[in-house]
């Protein structure tokens, strides 16, 4: 069913869109349509005979397909609002997925695929749907017959098909994929925070330690940043946000104040991790003036995540590093094995270099030698364990990879300025002395 519409009428490249849905339909074997902003079908690929027959049957029984059009349109609205894709049931209970076609930030139409089923026809609750749609009894057998011709695709595959249709829609639109990705990151962050709030609610209850501001988490966060751990620090940051949300009840001004405090703390952690002082201070200045542009808590949370990622990047500025892969793999190896008895030789083997060459590269790129880095990681990890009084110092030392407790204490004191015991007594409230290399 083709319509000879000009590009100007529609608002997007119709020829390209038609070719795309043809290719999509042919490769995945699912019917695909292009709809306009009123839900009207502009173009349809009839690759799936069973589906076409079913829809035609329903249309003839109901006398119109207005409810179908409405469902398609509603689906495309939701897709536009929630990250560019949406999977849904049509009034007859069949599965469709849709992605909007965006031009200049406005949806000019959508591409829609389906119908398919995700469960076997026998499990299909046809009677309920027939009742809901006001179809009279006499048609039930016919509809049942046509239902059996609708292809069954497992949910996992449907998910992939919807992702792929999204890619097609992006190609037809003028929107850059990164805009969608940012939006998705934003929603994911809010989802994480929301879950953590729920966790505090269900686990915490009257336990005030869970609902008060988590200073230990803050320490953990700073530690992860100084080690350059992006994924780990994002997770902890979301948890801290959950707490802030929970305890302030969403009060924007209080939250803004907390975020400002966090930015300063994060910047110090980055500095401790070896970031360039001028660069960090420059960023700080920029951020502290930017904060006033934001009006909602979610914007603040997302912005802070980006800042934190930036700071963490500064800790190990890998783009300047010539031997990126070697350093990256070495760091990963250390992160996963610091608690064992590992040596320079072990790591050098892991990256297929001779120990002396590896040591030279590491020192050149990182500006400090490998053993110093290894000790730094072990000491950072030990700090967390030290805050738990139930773990003996001997065990702490073993758990971070030192066989000899007195050696551990010596290294600890050299790096932090105090002995492990004192650190534990002071509950971590000590100013860090300058790191000695």
């Amino acid at each position: 069913m083709n319509s000879a519409k000009e590009k100007d009428d529609i608002g997007f490249n119709f020829e390209r869109a038609k070719k795309c849905v043809d290719d999509y339909s042919n490769s995945v074997g699912v019917r695909c349509i292009i709809i306009d902003t009123h839900g009207q079908t502009l173009y349809e690929t009839c690759i799936d005979n069973g589906a076409c027959k079913f829809c035609q049957k329903v249309k003839s029984v109901l006398g119109s397909n207005q409810s179908c059009l409405n469902a398609h349109l509603y689906g495309s609205y939701q897709a536009e609002r929630f990250g560019g894709k949406y999977v849904f049931f049509c009034p007859m209970g069949l599965v469709h997925w849709v992605s909007p076609i965006m031009v200049n930030g406005i949806a000019k139409g959508a591409v829609l695929a389906g119908p398919v089923q995700m469960i076997e026809p026998e499990d299909f609750l046809i009677e309920d749907l027939i009742r809901k749609n006001g179809i009279i009894e006499v048609h039930i057998d016919e509809i049942n017959y046509y239902i059996k011709n609708i292809q069954v695709i497992k949910p996992e595959k449907v998910n992939s098909l919807s992702e792929l249709l999204f890619v097609v829609a992006v190609y037809i639109s003028d929107i850059r994929p990164s805009e969608y990705l940012e939006e998705r990151e934003y929603h994911e962050q809010q989802s994480d925070i929301s879950e953590y709030i729920h966790y505090i609610k269900t686990m915490g209850g009257d336990d005030s330690s869970l609902s008060s501001y988590p200073l230990e988490k803050e320490k953990e966060l700073l530690s992860l940043i100084s080690l350059g751990d992006k994924a780990g620090s994002q997770k902890v940051l979301n948890e801290i946000f959950g707490h802030i949300f929970f305890s302030t009840g969403g009060n924007f001004d209080v939250i803004k104040a907390r975020v400002l405090e966090l930015i300063v703390l994060l910047s110090r952690a980055a500095l401790e991790g070896g970031a360039d002082v001028e660069q960090i201070f420059g960023l700080n200045y920029k951020y502290l003036s930017e904060i006033h542009d934001f009006k909602t808590v979610e914007e603040l949370a997302f912005w802070l995540s980006k800042i934190m990622a930036r700071f963490t990047d500064c800790v190990f500025n890998l783009t300047d590093v010539k031997h990126v892969d070697v350093i990256y793999r070495a760091i990963n190896f250390v992160k996963q094995n610091y608690m064992k008895k590992i040596t320079l030789e072990d790591v050098a083997n892991h990256v297929y270099l001779s120990p002396s060459y590896f040591s030279k590269i590491f020192k050149e790129e990182m500006k400090f030698n490998f053993n110093t880095y290894l000790n730094h990681v072990r000491i950072e990890m030990s700090k967390k364990l030290l805050l738990d009084d139930s773990i003996d110092l001997v065990d702490v030392s073993n758990l971070v990879g030192y066989e000899d407790q007195s050696y551990f204490s010596k290294v600890f004191k050299k790096m932090t300025g105090v002995s492990p015991g004192k650190y534990r007594e002071a509950r971590g409230q000590i100013k860090m002395a300058a790191k000695s290399t």
Partner: protein
Amino acid sequence: MNILMEISTNLQQGKAKNVKELVQKAIDEGLDAKTILEEGLLHGMGIIGEKFKNNEVYVPDVLIAARAMNAGSEVLKPLLASSGVKATGKVVLGTVKGDLHDIGKNLVRMMMEGKGLEVIDIGIDVPVEKFINTAKETGAQIIACSALLTTTMGEMKNVVEAAKAAGIRDSVTIMVGGAPVNENFCKSIGADIYTPDAASAADAAAEVCKNKKQ
């Protein structure tokens, strides 16, 4: 496998027809509605929820599980409703604008109806005006709103403000709920009651209506 586990497993697989039949079978075997709901249906939804969080399953799986959940709950509905008692009060119930979550809201509706309340379910993605207008038209004693996204919680504050502007704030109790919502939030936006789940929401609402009658 005991029947509650069967219900949970079939729900997770999206087998709505089986869930319907199994729930009926459980009722016939004498299990009470609350147990079937919590240990059968909600148990299954809980597992799907966890898996979704961990990216082990995706939206399509959740869709069919939710459909099976609805099918099963429909069977339980008459049991959860009290029989032949005149409505003790009216509640306007909905999920705020920007939010499409409805499973929790549907549960709240069923539990409230089970307490003898008349529930006017205005659905999902509901704009502020609709909450207020429906409350005015039906003379409801309670407006209950839910939100599952931190981004939509702010809408609840708008509902409170709109109620004030419409002059009905004093005659209507505003209840809030949803995963990211808590007591602090409720107080800070000026709502009246926060409840953590469907059962306590129903209890609180029944209490409110009872007190309003006196």
